[in-house]
């Protein structure tokens, strides 16, 4: 190719084919979201856009290892993909003309203006995210398609992250792309925009939680999935900076991710929030989370579930030691959250917070109002009740509740933790309560088993 938009530079080192391919793929992946987003605007077809972007990767893999990485890889890839797009539309046009010659209606040439609106990268990416989280798609397909087209992950990487067969993810993605054919690709406005933005945030949050409390496979975290969700949340906050909830979501995820290192012990066992070594929290992510929360609040507009949850997470992040936690404020925030986004898991967390802030009776009072059915037989209710009873000094009742919780949980680590706690209570004075309460104050939604 001689019409490259930029002069290639010499390769840094004589690379082996494998490392050269890895370098090309890394560059392509960094550029792919903008590439696919711009091509989606031009072609109004996500599937075609992705094919064209993949074509540009193939071209790069052929040329860069020998000719060097171009000075501006993004511009190079875009130029190649645009040329392919023009070729595609010319072929389609030729076909249309031939059909017309056979007696069909002759239509105006329809090759889209590929250079129009070059300054709308933000809109392009936002439009793409709205599409990959489209309400016409089933939730699990939204997550897969978003990771693929916005995160730039391969089908294999997504399959590994979700512990699902590669073929399953592949089918999910191609079915999703077919579903999107003919859907309006324009940016929604007004109330529809708010709703669609809510859908997008749900997908990002779901991806994060899939990584944060893994429902399948070994270990109870998949940090790389959390990181992808965090990237998506950061991108979203830059695309829709006027929306407090988007900053709230970013803040929440930064703050939760900051605890990743402290959430497992030396043998991979889970460590609960209050027992975590706070020195292992990632201070950089804490700072970023608090800054994002400040941006959300500075907008001075009504906030929703994400900002409220981020504020709760911030209460924990600001406490140097677990005993420094401002539980009164946490309890107050849960009261507001329970009104804004009612749910059984929020009520459970509210019970814990009220128990810490105002004594176990206050916590038990919240639990008494909770409909056990709403938790779908989750062990969490018995677990929280056991903890509050232990704090009140009702050892026998506490042990019974904790054993009930142990019988209900499907997670081995969790069962061991609950039984250990029960054994500690029955064998002596209540020394360190709260160990049985897991995943609470982490403000996570109820999880479905896949």
């Amino acid at each position: 190719m001689t019409s490259d938009p930029a002069t290639p530079s010499t390769p840094a080192t004589p690379a082996t084919p494998a490392t050269a391919a890895a370098a090309v793929t890394a560059v392509w992946r960094m550029e792919s979201v903008r590439l696919v987003a711009a091509l989606t605007r031009m072609t109004r077809d996500v599937a075609l856009a992705e094919d064209l972007a993949q074509d540009s990767l193939v071209a790069a893999l052929e040329q860069w290892p020998t000719e060097g990485v171009p000075r501006s890889p993004g511009a190079w890839l875009t130029a190649v993909a645009k040329r392919r797009a023009v070729d595609h539309f010319r072929r389609a046009e030729t076909l249309r003309r031939r059909t017309a010659e056979l007696g069909q209606d002759l239509q105006e040439a329809h090759v889209p203006d590929l250079d129009a609106a070059v300054d709308s990268i933000e809109d392009d990416v936002l439009r793409l995210v709205f599409l990959t989280c489209h309400p016409a798609l089933p939730p699990e397909s939204r997550a897969a398609l978003t990771l693929r087209l916005v995160g730039g992950l391969s089908t294999r990487e997504i399959a590994r992250a979700f512990m699902v067969k590669e073929a399953t993810i592949g089918q999910r993605i191609s079915r999703a792309k077919r579903t999107l054919v003919g859907q309006d690709v324009e940016l929604p406005t007004g109330r529809e925009r708010d709703e669609r933005l809510g859908d997008v945030m749900t997908v990002v949050y779901l991806i994060f939680n899939e990584g944060y409390t893994a429902t399948a496979g070994e270990g109870w975290m998949r940090p790389e999935l959390c990181l992808e969700a965090l990237r998506l949340a950061r991108t979203l906050a830059s695309l829709v900076p006027e929306e407090p909830e988007v900053h709230g979501l970013q803040a929440l995820l930064e703050l939760q991710a900051s605890r990743t290192r402290a959430r497992t012990g030396p043998d991979g066992e889970p460590v609960l929030l209050e027992a975590q070594d706070r020195g292992r929290w990632d201070r950089l992510l804490v700072q970023r989370g608090l800054a994002a929360l400040d941006r959300a609040l500075a907008l001075g507009r009504p906030v929703g579930r994400y900002v409220l949850q981020a504020e709760i997470a911030a209460c924990h992040a600001r406490a140097r030691r677990a005993e420094d936690t401002d539980w009164t404020r946490v309890a107050g925030l849960y009261d507001v959250l329970a009104a804004a986004a009612p749910g059984a898991v929020v009520e459970l967390n509210r019970a814990v917070a009220h128990g810490r802030a105002f004594g176990p009776d206050a916590g038990l009072a919240v639990l008494d109002l909770l409909d056990a059915e709403a938790l779908g037989g989750s062990h969490l209710l018995a677990s929280v009740r056991g903890d509050l009873l232990a704090r009140r000094g009702d050892a026998d009742e506490a042990v019974a509740a904790l054993r009930e919780a142990a019988a209900l949980t499907r997670n081995d680590d969790e069962r061991a933790l609950l039984l250990k706690k029960a054994a500690e209570i029955s064998s002596g004075p209540v020394s360190k309560p709260a160990q049985a309460v897991r995943r609470l104050h982490d403000t996570e939604p109820p999880r479905r088993q896949p």
Partner: protein, 125 residues
Amino acid sequence: MRYMVFVKMAEDVGDAPPRLHEVMGRELGEAFASGSIIDAGGLYPTVQSVEIRLTAGEVTTTDGPFAEAKEVVGGYSILEARSEEEAVAGARRVIEIHREFWPGWEGSVEVRRIATPEEGPPPRT
């Protein structure tokens, strides 16, 4: 994986052209937005730096600048990358932007992986 990127150059390079600031600002903004850069900063000149050194049991304190240093670190960024190739590609952009918008500038970026606490201290060889 996190990487620390040091931007190194001769200290007497003078002021950067406004266009470089503009383009670097835009690119940095995009990288911050996408989450690939999580922290970055510029450093004051070494005339304001202090070096405290231990040699043969002797502690000496020296104020900058340090005449023997050909290139000094002028700025840093912390990248959150999915692979080393991604970190290298990101760092390389900095050099390409300098090539395009600051004719005559010479310098380097150094990409260093940050060890995580789980890995223990990195090997010293």
